[in-house]
Point group: C2
Chain length 312, copies 2
């Protein structure tokens, strides 16, 4: 049976009707009214009603950033939306005649890749979503790993540098500060400042006054040595983090998703090289594969819908 998946982001709310095999049958999107909790709940209710109209649908999954409790009922905390210990499932269930599930957005995206994307042939997968920040998802023995309080798989907050850069989470040295899209921009700006191979980056920055993600992407495609160096540096941090994560999680596959993963093999290559150079006990146990995520921006809604069906 089809199910509905909703993905609440900082700038937009996306929704879809998703079939059992992960195909999107219908979709919808509206802008997020940032900072207005009631308006966001209203928008989600309306979107689910609209998508369900005239269809036999019994399950809806809602993905949101932040911490969701292990019973998938309460949002402990969401960045950009003023939810603190918000009983989101109850709030939605009270207004809708469907079984509602809520989950973390990175978990939903990871689950979609596991079921229908890059991870569909393995049982144990670790996904890193490289967007503005670094999100994570862990699947083990065909099940989503949520942790004891539902706040697990926050791979972006693995510490990679003691006393390192301050992170938005309040800790220091988190992977998110070294392996995210924001970190890539910081590195690109440093390289531009340094001159030399940074001349291309500096020239683009001089035109617009700032470097943005799409600038770096274009320069990478055009073989700019400074932009490629920044991407390789990012990959090195991610690969070293994966080596450390392998000791703990030992996945059969690492999936790299998010906007930065559009760089494909140019990103995977430095990840793999750093991974192998830093893997504990290399040669004494099997090694995982690395792959780019396949579902792109649809992963959140597809995963949320499929998780709702599984839970329902």
């Amino acid at each position: 049976m089809d199910a509905i998946g909703i993905d609440i982001g900082g700038t937009k709310i996306a929704g879809a009707v998703v079939s059992k095999d992960g195909t999107i049958v219908a979709h919808d999107r509206v802008a997020t009214v940032a900072g207005d909790s009631g308006a966001i709940v209203d928008a989600v209710v309306q979107m689910i009603e609209k998508l369900a109209a005239g269809r036999d649908i019994r399950h809806a999954g809602v993905a949101a950033p932040g911490f969701i409790d292990v019973d998938q009922s309460i949002v402990y905390y969401t960045p950009n939306i003023p939810w603190r210990e918000e009983p989101l499932r109850q709030r939605l269930s009270g207004r809708l005649d469907l079984a509602i599930t809520i989950d973390n957005d990175a978990n939903a995206a990871g689950w979609a890749e596991f079921r229908f994307g890059a991870g569909r042939t393995v049982s144990d997968m670790t996904m890193l979503t490289i967007g503005t920040g670094v999100g994570g998802a862990i699947v083990t023995r065909d099940r989503l790993f949520r942790g004891g309080f539902g706040a697990g798989a926050e791979i972006g907050h693995l510490r990679v540098v003691p006393n390192g850069l301050i992170c938005g989470c309040g800790a220091r040295g988190c992977l998110e500060q070294y392996g995210s899209g924001r970190a890539l921009l910081r590195m690109a700006n440093s390289i531009a400042d340094a001159g030399g191979i940074g001349a291309g980056l500096a020239a683009v920055r001089a035109k617009t006054g700032t470097l943005e993600g799409h600038d770096i992407s274009e320069l990478i495609i055009n073989n700019d040595p400074g932009a490629r160096h920044a991407l390789a540096e990012l990959g090195r941090w991610l690969g070293e983090a994966c080596a450390s994560l392998s000791a703990v999680l030992d996945p059969q596959l690492f999936v790299i998703g998010g906007g930065v993963a559009l760089a494909g093999e140019l990103l995977l290559e430095p990840i793999r090289a750093a991974y192998l150079a830093h893997l504990p006990a290399r040669g004494y146990h099997p090694e995982p594969k690395f792959a780019i995520a396949e579902l792109g921006n649809d992963a959140g809604v597809v995963g949320a819908a499929d998780l709702a069906r599984h839970n329902g």
Copy 2:
């Protein structure tokens, strides 16, 4: 029904008949013939036969250090014993009329604490075993987390310092080099070298020419400031690592086991302090508890027996 648990260590092989509630009914131990694979297999077979004699026992679990495959059949690698891709389960099954299970020794110890010890009231637990090295075990949703190839939960090889101290695993900066019994000795020696609060440590070292674990223990009990400082330093590293692990594993409980954990609250206190100071997103999600392991050296045999019963 009772089951047999065997724990193959570097210096001894311990065995026990364990009841369903985790009680040891009978036990045995022999010295490990280090480096002789055939002699170790012979000793395990003889010990199981001896413990099973006259009893209705159908399951035996064997715990060994190193990497065991996810099907719990093959030892990929064991330190100190020349096993490389050794089909240990088959080798034992062929000579014994019992269902044989093999597992990593830290996994077995963690499972015992989860079932009958410090972790018996939670569903999600992470255990760090602080002996000569640092072992790990992860339980999630009441199940042992083994990873995709069986080599997961090697928490001692989480990297805590980029380009840090070289580790026996070939990588650098592993937790094992900062949070193990061996690291405690290194820190104690440094403190002894530095004089000042190290005077007590230096005096003991001058008598015997070396500092050993029991020397540090005695000095800690006698309030020696240098020994206590070394223990606090060890606790700080462990607490910071637990903060990083929380982001990924989010356990309800951290259990600290192994010989160094006999220091009890003197070790837990610096662990908790460092944990809270470095926890990502502190205050936005529930926090785990910390406890000392309860089963001591018996954890390996008790866990191996219980896992065999569960798998059988």
